[in-house]
């Protein structure tokens, strides 16, 4: 039987054939929760999925043609399209040539691609005379459609291709280092503190953003605005600030910051969550959390983290057999760059392109609703891109409700369910993950070690150990509930959660592997973290006393 995927062909799960053909399909808990709506599936996910295949084919990855994906009840399931042994043999020599530049000079590959992306985003706006968020309202229907088509078919495609060429190279490099680590040191690298120390202390774009926001916070203190900040709710703070000279000064600084860096939302490719530039109050809670620290925490930690890294590097290299040392050292360098890229790309890839999609789709939603094609602007996210295209000009001629209503109803049902973690034979997961390490971006398998008698086991971690009070936060808009010094327990953390790293003392997440955002950020901030536990947010309750042991990658719930 084929499971419907909101009328999208080839995405339907075939419960007779698919598990057999692929062995196992794993739920993408990182990108797929809450369940995807049609615009996410049809644009963001579509180009991801294209990017993975494009990356695999361009790099000639010997073991995989990229991911395949199916939807069950709105949740995405992913697996690898594995190559035959003959194909692997054919692809191998080309793969060597293609991956070599990443090993020799990672930045030499990434820097021009990064510049290309930024130029593309800028030109898309400049060509249409767009600067401020509301400028898009001035576009004619035809111009808005052309922007949408550029976005959906050119900008997203380019971003997806660059994104995944980089991601695949990064994961193959880190994957090899992890494999060598297992062979040489007989330790599981994802839970070996030395491995994590080796990958730490690189300043990524998020860190730079965090520092800018801390500076904005300090500026507010300097302008004697801290009382207003403290006593005003986020959503009215901007208005309140506009009533004073100092407040207006601060607002204009903040606006400048957002014009450059405010192209981000809590969930990049779903388009149904607001962008900071659109809703400036979103950044305020984070600034409030940071503003009272006399120093930016990362800057304090950084010196220690870098020193630790350098010492660990020496120590680790000394344990590598001499013949392998130069190769190992080269691989470590490339892996460090890969880990750093893995953090950086969120800003340059997902955030920007996702925010642009939000910009255009939100405007279409507004116009469709105004013209009577749909009831509510938010309903636009239940349409497929080709439907938007067909209904865009002349606008208002097509009644889109029948398409929206049906899918919306299903989506609302799907919201209530807990997705099944996998379909097929889970014992094949390890093979699938090895054939394509990029699958680890979205899935994880905890390393269960019964002898530790822990309550939760992680798939990856950042070193350090802390006992304290847990706060379970299910979505990023609730992070202001956090009190300094608490342990954050969350489904996962994307770049939108960045600000919390300045105030928490420990972190436990359901999702995430060794290169995932929470682990990398926790390492940089020197916060003990256990990631990829799958069920932390279910097992732990706010107020529980828990022990996060990032050295061993396990969590204990005390006084249960």
């Amino acid at each position: 039987m084929l499971h419907d995927a909101y009328d999208l062909s080839f995405y339907e799960f075939d419960d007779e054939k698919d598990s057999k053909e692929y062995g196992v399909l794993l739920c993408d808990v990182v990108h797929g929760r809450p369940p995807m709506k049609p615009t996410y599936m049809g644009i963001g996910w579509y180009w991801y999925y294209h990017g993975v295949r494009y990356g695999a084919e361009t790099l000639h990855l010997p073991t995989t043609h990229g991911w395949d994906s199916r939807f069950v009840q709105g949740y995405p399931y992913i697996t690898a399209i594995r190559t035959t042994p003959e194909e692997a043999k054919e692809r191998e020599p080309i793969f060597r040539e293609k991956i070599k530049p990443f090993l020799e000079n990672f930045d030499g590959v990434w820097d021009p691609l990064k510049a290309e992306l930024l130029k593309m985003y800028k030109e898309a706006k400049d060509a249409r005379g767009l600067k401020e968020w509301d400028d898009i309202k001035k576009l004619s229907n035809a111009d808005l459609l052309s922007f949408f088509l550029d976005f959906a078919y050119i900008i997203n495609r380019k971003e997806g291709e660059i994104h995944f060429i980089m991601l695949m190279a990064s994961f193959y490099i880190v994957g090899l280092l992890q494999e060598m680590w297992r062979t040489i040191f007989e330790e599981e690298p994802s839970i070996d503190p030395n491995f994590h120390k080796l990958m730490s202390g690189f300043e990524n774009q998020d860190m730079k953003m965090g520092r800018m926001m801390w500076e904005l916070g300090r500026k507010a203190v300097e302008l004697n605005l801290d009382d207003i900040f403290r006593n005003t709710e986020d959503d009215v703070l901007i208005d309140k600030l506009n009533t004073s000279e100092a407040g207006r000064t601060w607002n204009s600084l903040y606006h400048e910051f957002l014009l450059e860096h405010g192209w981000r939302s809590d969930r990049a490719h779903s388009y149904d969550s607001p962008v900071w530039l659109e809703k400036p109050s979103m950044g305020l809670s984070r600034i409030k959390l940071l503003m009272h620290a006399p120093l930016f925490k990362f800057d304090v930690e950084r010196v220690r983290v870098i020193k630790d890294r350098e010492e660990t590097e020496k120590e680790v290299l000394a344990r590598v057999p001499e013949v392998q040392r130069p190769a190992f050292s080269l691989l470590v360098k490339a892996a460090q760059k890969s880990g750093y890229w893995s953090e950086d790309h969120g800003y340059f890839c997902d955030c920007h392109v996702g925010a642009m999609g939000r910009w255009i789709l939100q405007e279409f939603g507004r116009r469709f609703a105004q013209a009577g094609s749909i009831d509510d602007a938010e309903d636009v996210y239940f349409l497929h891109p080709n439907e938007i295209r067909k209904a865009a000009i002349p606008l208002g001629r097509i009644n889109l409700r029948p398409y929206v209503e049906r899918r919306k109803k299903v989506w609302e049902e799907n919201m209530k369910i807990e997705p099944i973690p996998f379909f097929g034979d889970i014992s094949q997961a390890q093979d699938i993950l090895r054939s394509d390490p990029t699958l680890l971006v979205s899935t994880q398998v905890p390393v269960v070690r019964k002898e530790l008698k822990a309550d939760l086991y992680g798939a990856a971690c950042a070193p350090g150990s802390f006992q304290g009070t847990a706060r379970v936060i299910m979505s990023v808009d609730k992070i202001s509930e956090l009190k300094p010094g608490e342990i954050l327990v969350a489904p996962g953390t994307s770049t939108a959660w960045m600000v919390v790293f300045g105030i928490i003392k420990g972190l436990v997440t359901d999702g995430g592997g060794a290169l995932s955002h929470p682990v990398i950020m926790a390492r940089e901030f020197g916060i003990p973290c256990v990631s990829g536990t799958v069920e932390a947010t279910q097992k732990i309750k706010t107020g529980d006393k828990i022990w996060v042991d990032g050295n061993r990658g396990v969590v204990y719930i005390m006084d249960k």
């Binding site: 073991t63 991956i99 090899l176 013949v323 392998q324 190769a327 080269l330 691989l331």
Partner: protein, 340 residues
């Protein structure tokens, strides 16, 4: 001749490298360690010098070098000089006392083997390895043949290869005295080499074995494609097996050896069983553990003995290729993907 210049293998150890050459020293070392090595003895580096001095060959060589100074690209000049130098060595009989001593060691080998003229191999052994540079003679039988081949091994330090090598490197010619290993021949059904690490990548998780039917010479010479196996060093399981193109094999004649064609049936089948591979891999591991470095090993399967009938003929540290680190990483990356 008070200084000792001839030794049984079991009298030697790796510390005797300078005295008898690396091959002999290492064979002695592993004999003492209880590993399977053919019976044999070694003529020291000093024996070579002694022969050269006592017979006047050294003087003759010196004279030749004064009159012949071929350039690196002077192939004919090098050839002429080489012939003259080798003749200077090969034409001199061993001084009687040296010949008697060598022959008394040989007759003890014959006694141990309960044979009149036991077949032996005579192999060169430099203090520094020069694989493939000097001569080895196999299936040497009888006193006269032995003495002749010992001189030929000595003379091979003046072969064209080594002269060309020295001229190219600007080294003094004829300045490389060598030892000679005399080992009882192994009647090899199959033979070859084993590396206790991948010489291309330094990957120490694998053992690589290459072999052909008959004596190991066809494998060592690199003239055909032997059967090849990659063995997991830890589990000793075979990870990969590749059938070679083995149209010929090196076999023993009555005296000496030849390359003979082998039957299509044999050419198409692997020349080692999994049990034999495991035995060889075990020995490779033992050798590596003993020397503390990955080893490059020559071995043979003795046809006339019951299993486990693997005999070691040589061991030395693996020379890991001077590959650029990035190529090593690429090899590892591809290797990692290949067996998944």
């Amino acid at each position: 001749m008070s200084d000792k210049w001839i030794y049984w293998l079991e009298e030697l150890g790796k510390e005797d490298n300078e005295r008898v050459g690396r091959k002999c020293a290492n064979l002695g070392e592993i004999t003492k360690a209880g590993l399977p090595v053919p019976k044999g003895f070694c003529l020291s580096v000093g024996a070579y010098g002694m022969f050269m001095e006592l017979t006047g060959a050294a003087e003759e060589i010196a004279r030749l070098l004064e009159t012949h100074k071929p350039a690196a690209d002077d192939v004919n000049g090098i050839r002429t000089l080489s012939r003259a130098m080798r003749h200077a060595v090969e034409s001199k009989p061993l001084p009687p006392e040296m010949a008697d001593t060598v022959l008394s060691y040989y007759s003890q080998l014959c006694d141990q083997a309960c044979t009149l003229d036991v077949a032996v191999s005579t192999r060169s052994a430099g203090a520094v390895s020069h694989p493939g540079q000097y001569e080895t003679y196999l299936n040497v039988k009888g006193k006269d043949d032995l003495l002749d081949k010992v001189r030929k091994v000595w003379a091979s330090t003046f072969n064209e290869r080594s002269l060309a090598f020295c001229i190219n490197k600007g080294l003094t010619l004829g300045n490389e005295p060598i030892g000679v290993a005399v080992l009882t021949m192994v009647q090899a059904r199959s033979a070859g080499i084993a590396f206790s690490a991948d010489p291309n990548t330094g990957d120490t998780s694998k053992i690589i074995i290459e072999a052909n039917w008959g004596l190991g010479e066809s494998v060592v010479s690199g003239e055909l494609m032997p059967d090849r196996w990659v063995i997991d060093k830890e589990t000793l399981e075979v990870r990969e097996r590749t059938l070679g193109r083995k149209d010929k094999a090196t076999v023993c004649l009555d005296c000496g050896i030849e390359d003979a064609e082998i039957s299509p049936e044999k050419a198409c089948s692997f020349c080692l069983s999994d049990e034999e591979l495991k035995e060889i891999a075990k020995l490779a591991n033992k050798l590596e553990a003993h020397f503390g470095l990955p080893q490059d090993i020559e071995w043979a399967v003795a046809e006339d003995k019951p299993f486990p009938n693997i005999v070691l003929l040589q061991t030395r540290a693996v020379v890991i290729s001077k590959q650029a680190p990035v190529d090593q990483v690429l090899d590892l990356m591809v290797g990692l993907l290949a067996f998944k």
